[in-house]
């Protein structure tokens, strides 16, 4: 063998991790990890801007196949996200609050961003109607568009679209089905059955006869009111007529 042939024999394959690292660093692809979620396994993808998608499920191949057409770039499995993101993600999932977890908002319209950022303010254990989000973001007539924006939430669980319910108080739709919505809400401590029982009777607001304040029924202030002091209202005009004012925490004016 000539020396030239021997030199040619020194050529090797590039390590398998090389191309994915380049794609991540240039933003041409996202990385993803498997993570425990509220209903079992889930996949969390991310890039240098933050978390780009969350998908509940067990099938990694299926997740990868559906990611590319939706986001216009491929996604690679990685061993771990960057340390700061990993820490913020763990905390967000442990506390059910988004905290300082960075989200990649780049593919979303301003309207969708506003809807999702507002949704992220709803505390665990509480729910709000679509119309509440619409009112809060200064677009009171856009309740239907709010529903569409939430249906396309790329980062469910960390942006808790499961905490937004129908205006009549029923749980309403969820990408993974109403049963999953119920399970996730119960897992974070909400009394779903009690809330549905109220909705069934047409009750959308509750108040306290000691403070004369009315709330969304899942508001943490409403939940503190003892049963014998709780009064029920079908709508805000009924509450106002009874001499009640809206709660400043849950701002139930539109519920």
């Amino acid at each position: 063998m000539t020396i030239e042939d021997q030199l040619a024999g020194l050529a090797t394959k590039a390590p398998r991790t090389l191309a994915p690292e380049v794609m991540l660093e240039t933003g041409l692809a996202d990385g993803y990890v498997r993570h425990d979620g509220p209903t079992g396994n889930m996949f969390v993808s991310f890039n240098r801007r933050g978390v780009s998608s969350i998908s509940l499920g067990d099938d990694a191949a299926d997740f990868e196949v559906r990611f590319e057409p939706q986001f216009g770039r491929p996604v690679f499995p990685v061993t771990a996200p960057p340390t700061r993101l990993a820490r913020a993600l763990d905390k967000a999932l442990r506390t059910n609050r988004i905290g300082n977890l960075p989200i990649d908002w780049s593919g979303m319209s301003e309207f969708q961003q506003a809807v999702l950022r507002k949704t992220a303010e709803i505390l665990p254990g509480e729910v709000r109607p679509y119309s509440w989000i619409a009112k809060e973001i200064g677009n009171p007539k856009a309740a239907r568009a709010v529903g569409t924006a939430l249906a396309r939430n790329p980062v469910p669980i960390v942006v808790p679209c499961h905490r937004v319910v129908r205006n009549d108080g029923h749980l309403g739709n969820y990408y993974y089905g109403t049963d999953v919505k119920r399970a996730v809400l119960e897992a974070e401590g909400m009394d779903v059955q009690g809330h549905e029982a109220l909705a069934e009777r047409g009750i959308r607001l509750t108040g306290s006869d000691t403070t004369h304040i009315f709330c969304n029924p899942t508001c943490r202030d409403a939940r503190r009111t003892r049963d014998e002091h709780t009064v029920e209202f079908r709508n805000q005009s009924q509450a106002r007529a009874a001499g009640y004012r809206p709660c400043k925490h849950c701002r139930p004016e539109v519920a």
Partner: protein
């Protein structure tokens, strides 16, 4: 990559950089890594530098006009970045102590431990032989015979005249032959 595919790749990069760049990485990563591997002491350094080359190439092209991308001699241009990064790495390395590192290419899990040991040994011997060459000779020999670049590409990558590069390769091979006998 043949000459024809290079022209096609240039065109695709100029038309849609984000779509074509992953293919460029797939096409070039083997050659780039293999060459860089012979110019730095460890496989970890080689992987880091190869990554950095692609990242810099991408960022540079993102700022170039389509016309400029079409006219690039891709291999010569990308190897210019690689040769510079290898040179900088050698410079900063000479200022810090060297540590012994596992040869990650030789000890890839798909090879048995014995084959890995033999390969690691061969790699070390070649590293020692190549260390006898001057920097210019080593770069020229590696780019010519490990990577398989044309002299014109090597001349562009190293910023030297084609004739000088040929002489470097020639002289480098002669030194290696001496080392082998």
């Amino acid at each position: 990559m043949t000459l024809d595919t290079v022209a096609i790749v240039n065109n695709r990069l100029a038309t849609n950089l984000d779509r074509a760049f992953p293919d460029l990485v797939r096409e070039m990563q083997g050659g780039l890594y293999s060459g860089v591997r012979q110019m730095v002491p460890s496989s970890a350094d080689a992987e880091d530098i190869t990554q950095e080359v692609f990242i810099r190439a991408y960022r540079a092209m993102a700022d170039y006009s389509p016309e400029r991308i079409r006219q690039l001699n891709l291999r010569g241009w990308i190897w210019t970045i690689a040769v510079n990064l290898c040179r900088n790495a050698a410079r900063s390395r000479s200022r810090r102590p060297r540590t012994v590192e596992l040869d990650r290419d030789a000890f890839a899990p798909e090879r048995g431990p014995e084959a890995s040991a033999v390969l690691a040994d061969e790699n070390r011997q070649w590293a020692d032989r190549l260390a006898r060459l001057s920097d210019a000779q080593r770069t020229a020999v590696v780019l010519r015979h490990v990577v398989g670049l044309r002299y014109v590409d090597i001349a562009e990558a190293t910023g030297r005249a084609e004739g000088t590069v040929k002489a470097d390769v020639h002289r480098g091979i002669a030194i290696l032959k001496e080392a082998l006998t």
